[in-house]
């Protein structure tokens, strides 16, 4: 993963700061950086969102395509994840350099989001066994300064909220042949329920404490972190230990608790913001990167 190298003295400085609940940028241990969220930024997608968290910048575009359902779940649609670690984020990712990380990230996203508990996959089915919607969730990393997972999960949730899939009707003719008709009314569309979609909170163990939303520098001081996916109701849907170090059981429990608390608190303002953003409708000034 993209990383920075820092000196021993810097490490000590950061670790002492974390011990006293005062981080280099003035935050407390459980504070996120300033976050900017904007939806509907790329017009030729079915849903999109951009999240900026400090110097971490993520753009998510969702495209829906009609495909055959998977044979083992014929009455459900599914999600596909692709993470493009573009060279924009760091020159290391040039050519095929970002591929490995991209696969790693998309695998984890798949585990976190592609379950019928977080999204009603059945609503994506058009015609059991024959047609279903596949949501291609493409994540573009534009800049990375740590805490990719959290930023990606928020962007994905926002983009799913923003997604509008055209309504389709299945017409059956006399011989039993089926035809699919797309609704041409742009307002006649399917929205996704995002109430249960989890957000990821990554906790980074620095010294004896752990911090939320670690920057790359803080990450360099830590050997292990814990990824926790939390739903708005506070249920944990995914836990992963990341990094080369190990954790003692007690800190795992503590970190999951913190993750739960922080994650739960994250959802409400996020939904509020998304709803407010949408109610502005066309009046909302689209700034995109022009902000």
């Amino acid at each position: 993963m993209a990383s920075v190298q820092i000196s021993e003295a810097e490490k000590v400085y950061i670790m002492h700061g974390v011990r006293d609940d005062l981080r280099v940028d003035g935050r407390g241990c459980e504070d996120y950086r300033h976050m900017e969220i904007e939806t509907d930024v790329v017009s030729n997608t079915d849903g999109s969102a951009k999240v900026r968290m400090g110097h971490t910048d993520v753009l998510v575009g969702i495209k829906a395509e009609l495909r055959r359902p998977r044979p083992n779940v014929p009455d459900e649609g599914y999600l596909e994840f692709f993470v493009d670690c573009s060279a924009n984020a760091t020159p290391e990712f040039e050519g095929r350099g970002g591929e490995e990380l991209g696969v790693e990230l998309s695998n984890t996203l798949y585990k976190v989001f592609n379950s019928h508990r977080s999204l009603d996959l059945r609503s994506l089915c058009v015609c059991p066994g024959e047609h279903c919607w596949v949501l291609y969730v493409d994540v573009l990393l534009l800049q990375c300064d740590g805490n990719l997972f959290d930023a990606m999960s928020i962007a994905i949730k926002a983009a799913l909220f923003n997604t509008r899939i055209p309504k389709v009707r299945v017409l059956e003719d006399e011989e039993g042949g089926k035809e699919i008709e797309l609704s041409d009314d742009p307002y006649d569309c399917l929205r996704l329920r995002v109430d249960n979609i989890p957000c990821i909170v990554t906790l980074c163990k620095v010294g004896h404490r752990h911090v939320v939303d670690a920057t790359l520098q803080e990450k360099a001081c830590s050997a292990a972190s814990l990824l926790v996916a939390v739903t708005p109701r506070g249920a944990v849907t995914c836990v992963r230990k990341l990094g080369a170090g190990s954790l003692d059981p007690d800190s795992i429990f503590e970190m999951t608790e913190t993750g739960k608390r922080v994650g739960k608190a994250l959802h409400a303002p996020l939904m509020e913001l998304l709803q407010k953003d949408e109610s502005l409708g066309k009046k909302r000034q689209k700034v995109g990167f022009l902000a």
């Binding site: 044979p71 696969v103 230990k241 190990s246």
Partner: protein, 271 residues
């Protein structure tokens, strides 16, 4: 699609006969197959070290029908010299499922599941190995699952740490793995394939999940943790504790296998 010219190719498309079973027989009854096993019991484990003559160290592990073989090569010169600091060694993990190891045939080319498992294995093993003792070199761990009957990642962790020990690689501690399946109120340790799937993927029931944990038993440190599924508030910590207990249950078996391998390599002086 690029054509794979380096292998003997079959027809473009073929389907597993499992897909054509009459619907009634498609999901054979749950847990009856294993006979009487308590929910908290691990399956009988058979382990052996030093089977692969060409490798520096190797091990074989059988838990129920799950069969895993692992070999360790190195330390040898680092292959990719571009990045990484040279002060500490590199651990390289390759996790593969043999094409015939699952109910559905797998492909030869490493899929994303295997890559994911390789990474999980690497992150679980890394904290246990004294990599700073092997500057400028890499240690390769190759794991092959011959038959997948559940809990492969957990057993692969155990198997890999035995192979590392057999290869004489310096370690802080062994790494043991254990996995668990939360199915409603039942908490099944060391699940087999049927238990792993269970009603979780088809149903919408409460408190379903899966936990895999890797433990350094003497240091009491958790080196790997993966939990998926929506579990009740108290179920997750309980599951972690149960897995830790499960790991400790494996410890004597693993110890014995390593001891045997050591004795074989350096027989104690006869009296």
């Amino acid at each position: 699609m690029p054509v794979d010219t380096k292998r003997v190719r079959g027809p473009e498309e073929s389907q597993s006969p499992v897909l054509f079973l009459p619907p009634s027989t498609q999901s054979p009854a749950g847990r009856s197959g294993q006979g009487a096993r308590g929910n908290a019991d691990i399956r009988p484990v058979f382990t052996r070290c030093g089977l692969v003559s060409q490798a520096k160290g190797s091990s074989y592990l059988e838990a129920g029908n799950t069969k895993i073989i692992c070999s360790v090569y190195g330390p040898r010169e680092i292959e990719r010299k571009d990045e990484t600091d040279m002060k500490s060694g590199r651990l390289v993990c390759d996790f593969r499922l043999a094409p015939f190891s699952c109910r559905k045939r797998g492909a030869w080319i490493q899929g994303s599941e295997e890559r994911d498992l390789s990474l999980a294995l690497l992150e679980s093993m890394q904290p246990g190995v004294c990599l700073h003792r092997y500057p400028r070199s890499q240690i390769e761990v190759n794991v092959m699952v011959l038959e997948n009957d559940g809990s492969i990642l957990a057993h692969a962790v155990t198997c890999a740490s035995m192979a590392l020990a057999d290869a004489g690689i310096e370690m802080y501690d062994l790494v043991l793995g254990c996995s668990l399946r939360q199915d409603g109120d039942a908490c099944l340790v060391d699940p087999d394939v049927l238990e792993e799937k269970g009603s979780w993927q088809s149903g919408y029931e409460e408190n379903q999940g899966r936990v895999t944990l890797a433990l350094l038993p003497n240091l009491g440190q958790v080196s790997g943790l993966q939990a998926d599924g929506e579990m009740r508030e108290d179920a997750l910590p309980a599951a972690v504790r149960t897995c830790i207990d499960g790991c400790h249950k494996m410890y004597p078996v693993v110890q014995q296998a390593i001891l045997r391998a050591v004795k074989k390599k350096a027989p104690p002086p006869e009296k």
